[in-house]
């Protein structure tokens, strides 16, 4: 064991350290005893970095996933060809029911590309030569992007010079339609490049892109620029009015949903003229014995001045009596919008009838009696 250790340590340290080898005791060499405990030889696994997955491993995982998906479809008695990820999630939730609170800890079956983090494969070939010409910079994807970008800027300038020489340079050429888009954020750029970049690098990238955009003939490289822009979803503040529908008897009706705390309700408002209200099949007097809840139901109708005109058919679930009443109120107000004019709808919005109440129950914190209540303070 000691000789084994000694040989190993010699290989580790190279020829610089000479040992007093037991086989030739006559060689007058300088000998230095090196401690060779197993703790020294043990590799620090954490220092190697995150585990690397080879391309073959990922490929094998993908094949296993596909086969497993077909098995699962057969087990559930469904068509293996059209088995989507949602079907897989549903099947796994059915076959392996889990009561764990943490959703990520529950059993799952996902495509390996989503499970294993995207990593860089080995960057060089069998002869040791790296594949990318900017490998030795350390940030090859980012610098090659900058190189490409600068080449495009030079290309546009050359094009402009040629046009000027011919006299065809126009002052207002076709501009790129950016619309409501923004540049990719630093995190999104890092995800595209599969490489970390510093904020300074990102600023430089944006500067060069802006410079390219400011050139008159930047429409030459439109496709390239749009690749690095993200469309912003338009969030309109305008209230969506539910459409007015007609049933078989020719009566107008509209449907809307509402929620409050944990209650969810759905209401159908019919333009009958009777003023009857049914909740979950029961009459509203039986369902809400308390006056306060019935007042909440009537408030939107009373505000719009249409108390006896409409017929309400509602379903509600979850929560307690007060939150159910609140959910129903919101649903009724939304459904009423399709029968009222714009100004009346605006008046309802200003009254606060169309705003969902965001208040939910605050959790209890440890070290306190309730959400806010602290334990009794004792001086000693």
């Amino acid at each position: 064991m000691a000789a084994n250790c000694g040989r190993v340590v010699r290989l580790l340290l190279g020829k610089s350290v000479k040992f007093a080898s037991p086989c030739n005791p006559l060689t007058p060499q300088l000998c230095r005893q090196i401690s060779c405990s197993s703790a020294l030889c043990r590799k620090n696994l954490a220092s190697l970095g995150p585990e690397k997955f080879t391309a073959e491993f990922i490929q094998k995982q993908i094949e296993e996933f596909e086969i497993g998906k077909r098995h699962l479809a057969n087990m559930m008695g469904e068509d293996p060809e059209n088995f989507t990820q949602e079907d897989i999630d549903r099947s796994i939730a059915y076959l392996f029911p889990s009561g764990l609170f943490e959703k990520k800890a529950r059993p799952f079956m996902k495509h390996p590309d989503e499970v294993f983090p995207k990593q860089r494969a080995v960057q060089w070939g069998p002869d040791g030569r790296p594949f990318h010409f900017l490998f030795y910079t350390g940030k090859q994807s980012y610098y090659s992007l900058m190189h490409e970008l600068y080449a495009k800027v030079l290309n546009i300038e050359k094009h402009q010079d040629r046009l000027r020489a011919k006299g065809l340079f126009s002052a207002e050429p076709k501009q790129i339609s950016l619309g409501t888009s923004r540049w990719l954020t630093k995190e999104e750029l890092e995800a595209t490049l599969v490489e970390t970049i510093s904020s300074h690098d990102y600023d430089r990238f944006i500067q060069l892109m802006e410079r390219m955009l400011s050139m008159p003939y930047s429409s030459l490289e439109e496709e390239f620029i749009l690749r690095y822009r993200q469309q912003l979803e338009a969030q309109s503040m305008h209230q969506i009015v539910p459409p007015l529908q007609k049933d078989e008897k020719g009566v107008d009706f509209s449907t809307a949903e509402g929620k409050r705390k944990t209650s969810r309700s759905s209401v159908v408002v019919r333009d009958c003229g009777s003023g009857r209200i049914t909740i979950n099949g029961e009459d509203y007097l039986h369902y809400f014995p308390v006056l306060q809840d019935r007042e909440q139901l009537m408030f939107p109708l009373q505000f719009a001045g249409v108390l006896g005109r409409f017929d309400l058919e509602a379903t509600v679930s979850g929560g307690g009596r007060s939150s159910q009443a609140g959910a129903l109120r919101l649903a009724i107000s939304k459904a009423l919008l399709s029968f009222l004019s714009e100004t009346e709808g605006e008046a309802m919005r200003q009254a606060g009838l169309l705003t969902p109440d965001p208040r939910v129950r605050e959790r209890k914190k440890p070290g306190q009696e309730g959400a806010r209540r602290k334990f009794t303070w004792k001086k000693r």
Partner: protein, 274 residues
């Protein structure tokens, strides 16, 4: 003196077997647990030796095997304004042997010396490229960054014209990963960085025993560079000339290599098929 330089190059390329690389995989066990000493990737030394065994290398003693002296003349250097240096105040003490004269305080480099040094440098480049060595072009001039990168891409070699991170050569196993192969030759198209100090890579290459070629202007320090080439590094014409010359010499060497491999393959079909 050229023989010593060639020997140095030979030893660097591992022909004489002096190249030391990471130790090969060794498994040993202590108390029943198995460990490995170093990376399990095969050392590049073995790759290079098998590479050179296939095709005989051109003799190093033969001067200018690739006929690179045809690539440029003294007149070309003059037309590309290679002889123009900086002002007397910027002059480096060690560049004085390479200066021809100074007119109106502007230093003029001696083109005879430049021609001789450039021929040596191109020869070294071609010989390294012939043996499949990795060549790295380095320059920190923003004006010529794109030109240098394009040159490197066109001749199939590598470039670094960006911010030099500290441990790229000296801490390579941490920076790039285990088993990386470092460049066999570094060509500096401008030895100064953006704050007019000597580029860190010159010192790092000297530490890692990598031969360097450098275009040294009259304000640069030629001492640590293996093959200095006194010349102008500020004019676009001069930079284009250098890039063109290096690219042509590398391409010539690689073409010759491919020819020799084909000939080898034709003359000995049995050994090449195995």
């Amino acid at each position: 003196m050229s023989n010593i330089r060639h020997l140095f190059l030979a030893s660097r390329s591992g022909l004489l077997g002096f190249r030391h690389v990471g130790a090969a995989k060794v498994k040993f066990s202590i108390n029943g647990q198995h460990f490995a000493t170093a990376s399990s990737i095969k050392s590049p030394e073995i790759q290079i030796q098998s590479f050179t065994e296939k095709v005989p290398n051109p003799p190093l003693e033969k001067h200018d095997h690739f006929r690179l002296s045809e690539l440029f003349t003294l007149k070309d250097l003059f037309d590309a304004r290679v002889h123009l240096g900086h002002k007397k105040g910027c002059r480096h003490r060690l560049m004085e042997p390479y200066l021809y004269n100074s007119s109106l305080d502007y230093d003029i480099l001696d083109l005879d010396k430049t021609e001789e040094h450039l021929r040596l440098a191109l020869n070294v480049t071609a010989q390294t490229a012939y043996r499949g060595g990795i060549i790295l072009f380095v320059s920190r001039r923003r004006q010529f960054c794109h030109l240098v990168e394009t040159t490197a891409k066109e001749c199939g070699e590598y470039a670094h014209t960006r911010y030099w991170q500290g441990g790229l050569l000296t801490n390579a196993h941490i920076q790039y990963g285990q088993g990386v192969r470092l460049p066999d030759l570094i060509i500096f198209l401008s030895t100064l960085n953006n704050v007019f100090q000597q580029h860190v890579a010159i010192r790092d290459a000297a530490k890692m025993n990598i031969p360097t070629i450098g275009v040294v202007d009259s304000n640069c320090n030629p001492s640590s560079i293996t093959y200095p080439v006194p010349g102008n590094d500020d004019t676009p014409v001069a930079m284009e000339l250098y890039c063109r010359l290096f690219k042509m010499s590398i391409n010539r060497a690689k073409d010759k290599r491919r020819q020799m491999e084909l000939l080898q393959g034709l003359s000995e079909p049995s050994s090449s098929s195995s």
